[in-house]
Structures are given as C-alpha cells and as structure tokens.
C-alpha cells in the first residue's frame, strides 16, 4: 500500500515538472495511475524537440519546420532512460492488476462451485476448496495446486527510486541500501533523543522514578536476516544484520528504552512457547500393585512396543531375549540412555517387542518407546531434560533412495575413460 502511494507521489512530481499540467489533470492522475503515466509519456514525447520546458508551449508545426539537427542533451538522454524505466514499472503494475482481477474472479467461481457466498469466501476457504476439488498425491507440498493472492505469489518490487530528471528521491539513495541505512539512522536518532531525555531527568533528579519501568524482551528475539531483507526490500549481508542487532541492542539497553517499546517490538519476533505437554498418559497398576505403562516408538522401518514396570530388578527383555539380543555395544547404549538419564537403571523392568528393520532401527525404536514410557514416571523437570536431550522426539531420517545411474544413494560407479 505504502509503495503504491509513493509511486503515485513520484509520478505526480514527474508530471508537474515536465508537462506542467493543469491541477485538474493532476487530480485525475492521482486517481488513475495508468492514465497519469500515459499523460506523462505524451508530455515527454512532445518535449523531445524542445530544449527546455518552456519550449513545449511552441506549436508543433513550427518545430517540425526548423532546420535544427536532432541531437540529445544529457538531460534528455536520462529522461529517455526514465521513460523505459517507467514503462517497465507500468507493465508490472498492469500485470499485477490483471492477476488480481483474475484471482477475484477465480475465487468467486470457486465459491459458486462450493455453494458458498462469494463475498464471504476467504483464503482459507479457497485452500480447502482446492484441496477438495483437485486432490493431489504429490509428496512435495509446494508442487500441489494452489490459488493464492498475486501479492503472495509474485515477488515484491521496489517502487521507482528516482524521478525522470535522474535525481533520486531518497537522500540515502547512493548508499545502495537507502531503507536499511535510514532505519539505522532512525535508531541512532532515537538513542540520541533518549539520551537528551535522560539528561533532563537527571537534571531534575527524577530518573529514579523511571527506574522501575523496564522493557521486557523475554520471549522474543531480533528479526532474522531474511525478515530484515523483506522489510527493507534490499540485499543485505550477515554483517549488516549484525550491525542492525548491535545498534538496536544499544537502544534497548538504555534506561528509558521502554519509551520506544513500540518501535523496538516492531523489529522483534515472538518466540513460540514450548508446550509443556501435560498429556503424558497415566500409568496403570497391575494385580501385584506395580505401576506399568506401554508405549510405542518408531525409527527407520522398525516399530517397537515397550512395557515398563516399576519396582523391578532391572530386567530387560527384548523379543524374549536379554540385552544380548543386540550384539553391538552401540545398540545396547541406545537402550541404556533413557534409563540413565532418568536414573531408573536397575529399578524398572522393561519388556520390548520389536519388529522390522535392522539393529540400529530396532534399538532406536526401543529407545523412543522406552523414553516415552519412562516420561510417565518422572517429574516435569526430568521430562523437560529428556525432551531437550532429544529422547522424546521421533528421528524422522529415512534411508535415502538409490538413484538410477549411481551405485547407491550417493556413491557413483567407478569412472572409466572408455
């Protein structure tokens, strides 16, 4: 929205300078962008033969008849470049407008097909309708059919940066990253402002009153480099991002930073709070008064079901055998890890049935199932530690497929010259 107004403004300036149009035309231009641009084209084409703006007032027939050679001044050349630039911008606008129209029509069609009110048909409804009407089994979600607003589909572009006379609008245009540096300037101005305010308060001796108000930054972090790029629409480097965070950090450290909370929070991203899942199943109790629980786990192509009993002697049974079911020590260590982390080694009895896959998969599946089961017996802190250790997370890695023309997934055949 902001960009389009900006563009309109700039075009207004262009038309003012070149064509000196009447105020009525200007108003019309402001309302209809495309019309305005065409006007600007007209005026520029009319001024081709004239050297100055005043010459446009001379009738055309007089100029045609004159014997002056056709040479272009520097300013004229620049304005020709401007014209091309403007044409490009215009065609983009046209395209977007067309796309938006098509999107609106498509949305209405979809609403009609689905038997819903077209005016109340939202993007969510569109997605649902597409999924229903064009069901796709394609694995990659990006490759499935979609209908989205053109603003989401086509990459955003910066509005015109400079006027037809070749002068940039932005004072920082020649830094290469005007939006970014103006943001930094803005921040440093704010810091200076806060310093002034602080001095004032110190002079009045009122600073201690503000001491209690603090800026709470917990649960959020600075926006990432890609988001910053989106915000400024400029190519930024890691170094720029660091510069940005350091400067904003300086602002937040100021005792009066809470006054700029709105500005600061605009450049921070809220962190999602981990749900401290309280939905762990409760253990059951058997005839002998021992609590027990069953859980299942997967890894690669193996599936394991594990039952854990409390008040045990540390007996491990895997498919009717002892821990020696696994001949590799690394696989035994997999089963050891959840027991050791929870400190239940030698205290619980474990019975596991596992099928499919090989040693690595089976031991991994048992580890996950065992950890899930043990989570029911431990307190929240330990459960959180288990989660952080990755014991409660399914390992989603799979075997990579073999490629044709290669020996394995990555390995290639021996290269032979001929």
């Amino acid at each position: 929205m902001a960009t389009s107004t900006m563009r309109r403004l700039c075009l207004l300036k262009v038309s003012r300078k070149l064509a000196r149009c009447s105020t009525a035309v200007q108003e019309r231009c402001a309302l209809h962008t495309s019309c305005m641009v065409s006007k600007a084209e007209d005026s520029s084409s009319s001024s081709v033969s004239g050297t100055s703006i005043t010459s446009s007032a001379v009738p055309d027939n007089l100029i045609k008849g004159s014997m002056q050679p056709k040479t272009f001044t520097k300013a004229q050349k620049i304005s020709r470049a401007m014209q091309a630039y403007m044409e490009r911008a215009q065609s983009y606008d046209k395209m977007i407008k067309k796309e938006i129209d098509e999107y609106d029509i498509g949305k209405r069609h979809l609403a009609n097909i689905m038997g819903q009110d077209p005016d109340l048909f939202e993007q969510e409804d569109v997605d649902r309708a597409i999924e229903y009407l064009l069901p796709s089994g394609i694995f990659a979600k990006k490759a499935r059919p979609v209908l989205k607003h053109p603003y989401e589909v086509f990459p955003k572009r910066k509005a015109a940066q400079f006027a037809l006379d070749g002068r940039p609008f932005h004072s920082m245009f020649y830094t290469g990253k005007p939006n970014f540096y103006s943001l930094l300037l803005n921040v440093s101005m704010k810091i200076e402002e806060l310093k002034k305010q602080e001095d004032k308060l110190i002079r009045k001796g009122l600073l201690h009153e503000e001491a209690e108000k603090k800026l709470l930054l917990l649960g959020s972090e600075w926006i990432t480099l890609p988001s910053l790029k989106d915000l400024t629409l400029e190519p930024l480097s890691e170094h720029d991002h660091k510069h940005f965070t350091v400067l904003l950090g300086r602002l937040t450290e100021h005792p009066l930073a809470f006054k700029e909370e709105e500005f600061i929070m605009k450049h921070r991203r809220k962190l999602m709070l981990q749900s401290f899942a309280e939905d762990v199943p409760k253990p059951m109790v058997d005839d002998q008064g021992r609590a027990y629980i069953t859980a299942s786990g997967k890894r690669k192509t193996s599936i394991a079901d594990v039952t854990v009993w409390t008040k045990g002697t540390g007996k491990i049974t895997i498919n009717g055998q002892s821990i020696q079911y696994f001949s590799y020590i690394t696989h035994r260590e997999q089963i050891l890890s959840p027991l050791q982390l929870t400190g239940r080694l030698g205290e619980v009895d474990v019975e596991a049935t596992v099928e499919g896959g090989g040693g690595t998969g089976q031991s991994g599946a048992i580890r996950l199932a065992l950890a899930k089961a043990l989570a029911s017996f431990v307190d929240t802190d330990t459960r959180e530690r288990m989660r952080i250790a990755g014991l409660l997370t399914r390992d989603v890695r799979r075997k990579e497929r073999k490629k044709p023309g290669q020996k394995k997934a990555r390995k290639q055949f021996t290269w032979k010259k001929r």
Binding site: I323, Q324, R332, E333, L336, L339, Q340, L341, L345
Partner: protein, 435 residues
C-alpha cells in the same frame, strides 16, 4: 601385548566411559564424592591383599593410649563394603570354600606354565599377559564340582560332570579351576583342551598304521603328548607299562618300562603319535584302580566328538569325528566302565558348526548319539556373573588399572558396564578392553 596396543586398549575404555560422564554430569560428580569416601574406607579396612598403598590413619590428636585403642577398634568394627573386596589370599583350591565365592585368586606362574600351555582362551591369555598375573575367580559351579570330587568314592565307576552355559559364561575357566584343584590334589590329568580343533583345524592327516579306515592327526597327537607330559611330570616316570606294545618289527615298548618312554617315542616318531595317545589312555584306564591313581578326564567342548570333520576320505565323503583315532580313543575314556577317576566335560556351542549353535543345552549340543554315550551325567550350569561377581570383576579391572576413566569408580559407571555386558563375563571383558 606391547605398549602402544595397551595404550589403545585403555583409550577405548576411557572413551566408553567418557560418553557416560558427558551424559550426566551432575550425577557423576555426586557419585564421585561418595566413591572417594568408600575407597578411603576400603584402603583403611581391607584385610585382604590389595595392591593399593596403605593409607595413613586419620590424623586426630589422641591424648592417651586408651583413646588410640578405642579409635582403632572403632575403625575395625566398621563394615567392609562387600563390593570393594575382590581378591582372596587363599590360592589353594583345596582350601577354598563358598566364603571365597566371587573373589579372585592368583595361580602361581610355574603352575600356569605347567598346566595351561593350552586350554585357556586367546583373549584370556592376552589379558593374563597384560596383567602380569593369572587370576581365576572362585565361582559356584567350580566349587560344586570340587566339592563332589572331594567326597568322591573312587571305587565307584567314574562319575561324569557336564558343564553347560551361555557363550562366554566361563565354562573353560571353571574347568581350569577344577584342573588346578586336581593338580594340587595330585590327580593325573588327561586334558583335551579343545577337540573341535581336531575336526577342522588339523595340520596334516595320515591313515592309521594300527587300523585301516581310521585317520591319524600326528601333529595334534604330539601336541597332546607334550601337554600330557608337562601336566603329569611325576606320573609319567612312575607308571610302568602293563603290556608290550609293538609299533614296528624293530620298535617296541617293553612291559615294565615307564610311561615316559611311550611319550618320547610318540614325539620322535610322529607317525605313531596317535597310537601312543591310545596306548597311554589305555594304560591309565587299566592301572588307575590298581595303583590308586586318581584320574581326571577333562574335555572342553565335548560335543565335537559327535560332529562331522572337514577331512575327506578317498571317496570324497566327509568323515565323522569318531573315525579319527584320537577321538576314538578319547571317547573310550568317557565311558563309565573304569574306576578311580572322574570325568569333567563341557558342551560349547562354538564347538559345533555355525548352523548348529542356537541353544546351549546339552541335549541339543550333544545330539542323540552323544547324549546316549554320556548318559547318565551330572549337569552343572555355569551361569553369568551374579551382581557380587560382576562388581568384583570390575574392581579387579580397576585395580589392574585396566579401566582408567574416573567415571568407572562411580556407582553409575559400574552400573553402566554391568548393564551393557548383561553380566556376561566375556562381554564384560570385551567392553572393558578395546576388543
């Protein structure tokens, strides 16, 4: 083992426990503290031989002699942690009882040289070389068999004991312990360390000069003779032959000459070594009762006697083990038709071919024929380590500086080792070393 290899071993052990330390740092530190205390207690009050340096008594200011005595008696009364005692001074198997169960005793080097030139596993021999001492753990199955041997009525037919158990549970070392007892108790020992080697790892074969259709293994027979001579140095001189043996027209062993003569002849003329083994076994069997000699027949992996060999006859058919003259003669010793002796055998899955190793029970491993041959026998189960034995073993390794990581001193570390090995002696040995 050379120095770099040992360093590698140690490195591996450290690595294993390193993972443990990083995993629960907080637990590790707490455990360490308690261990330090316990070790101090052990050093102070361990009455049984430990190679650790003695620690000074706590330096408390004691005013008079009475107080000093009081302090000393208090210190003595504190209970000794059972887990930290792992070694016993009682190195005579005759004197050992269930009080020493789970503890290690040292076998003197001379006896090891004499008795166990063969008959200990490669891994154990390597460990012995590294530790610079041979230690056996006093375990229940060995004590049971030794107790039976102590109370044996020698005038009855020779009883048969059959050791069986999981792979790596200590059958061979139990047998070694029994052999050591018998040696100390002046028994004559007929030890076949691993007859499975006769079936498939033979050096050369030759047809038997004594009986057509039988195969001799000259090198294996000579090895057995050497082992027999070193194990029974006293007996070979004393026992006299009861009959005349004619090897060839010119070479004979006269009646009344010592047994030594046959051994020497067998070693010089390897062609007749297998027949010499048969002659010795026959002489021992016949004379045991007559001369009041106590005879122990020890066979490790006895199920090899009823297996197929990899030797082919001229018709290109595989031979069975009893077509070997060595096996044929030895099988006669397993029959209970002689007195003044005992037979201790073990069945081992590894003596079987690869596709017949599913179970470790005698009935499965011996097969119908073998079971019939040995029946009736006393089955002796050799179980994996008990908790006490496992802790004792880890303490022994720690004492030998075999496990150097400090986490192994903690309760957590020991529990981890026990869990990973499932208390199986061989597994524990492997986990604590690099192999």
């Amino acid at each position: 083992m050379d120095a770099p290899m040992k360093a590698q071993h140690l490195g591996r052990s450290i690595y294993r426990l390193g993972s443990l330390l990083t995993r629960n740092n907080s637990v590790g530190t707490a455990g360490e503290r308690t261990t330090c205390l316990r070790l101090t207690a052990k050093k102070l009050h361990n009455p049984i031989g430990s190679s650790r340096k003695p620690l000074l008594l706590p330096c408390r200011q004691l005013s008079n002699l009475a107080e000093q005595f009081q302090a000393a008696s208090d210190a003595r009364r504190q209970p000794v942690n059972v887990h930290t005692v792992f070694r016993t001074e009682e190195d005579d198997p005759i004197q050992q009882s269930s009080a020493q169960e789970g503890l290690f005793y040292t076998v003197p080097e001379g006896e090891v040289k004499r008795l166990f030139q063969k008959g200990l596993s490669v891994q154990f021999t390597r460990q012995v070389k590294t530790f610079n001492e041979t230690c056996f753990m006093v375990r229940k199955p060995a004590l049971e068999v030794i107790d039976c041997l102590k109370h044996l009525d020698l005038n009855h037919p020779a009883p048969r004991f059959l050791l069986y158990g999981n792979n790596g549970s200590g059958k061979t070392l139990t047998m070694a312990h029994i052999i050591h007892y018998c040696y100390r108790n002046k028994w004559l020992i007929l030890h076949a360390p691993w007859p499975s080697d006769w079936n498939c790892r033979y050096h050369e074969t030759s047809p038997s000069p004594h009986k057509a259709g039988r195969i001799d293994l000259p090198v294996e027979a000579a090895e057995w003779l050497v082992n027999f001579r070193s194990q029974n140095a006293d007996f070979v001189r004393d026992i006299k032959l009861s009959q005349r043996y004619v090897w060839t027209k010119r070479e004979t062993a006269e009646e009344g000459s010592p047994l030594n003569e046959i051994v020497e002849f067998g070693l010089n003329r390897m062609k007749f070594a297998s027949d010499c083994v048969g002659a010795i076994l026959k002489e021992v069997r016949n004379q045991a009762a007559m001369h009041k000699i106590k005879v122990l027949v020890a066979v490790d992996g006895v199920n090899a006697f009823w297996n197929m060999t990899t030797i082919k006859n001229p018709e290109r058919e595989l031979l069975t083990a009893d077509q070997l003259s060595l096996v044929h003669n030895y099988k006669k010793m397993l029959l209970s038709n002689w007195t003044h002796g005992a037979i201790v055998c073990s069945v081992d899955a590894f003596a079987n071919a690869r596709d017949h190793r599913e179970k470790h029970y005698p009935h499965y491993l011996l097969g119908k024929e073998g079971y019939k041959w040995l029946d009736p026998f006393v089955p002796v189960h050799v179980p994996d380590y008990s908790e006490k034995e496992a802790y004792s073993c880890i303490e022994y390794y720690l004492d030998r500086n075999w496990i150097q990581h400090e986490a192994a001193q903690t309760e957590e570390g020991k529990k981890e080792l026990i869990f990973l090995s499932n208390r199986n002696p061989f597994q524990l040995m492997r986990i604590c070393s690099s192999k």
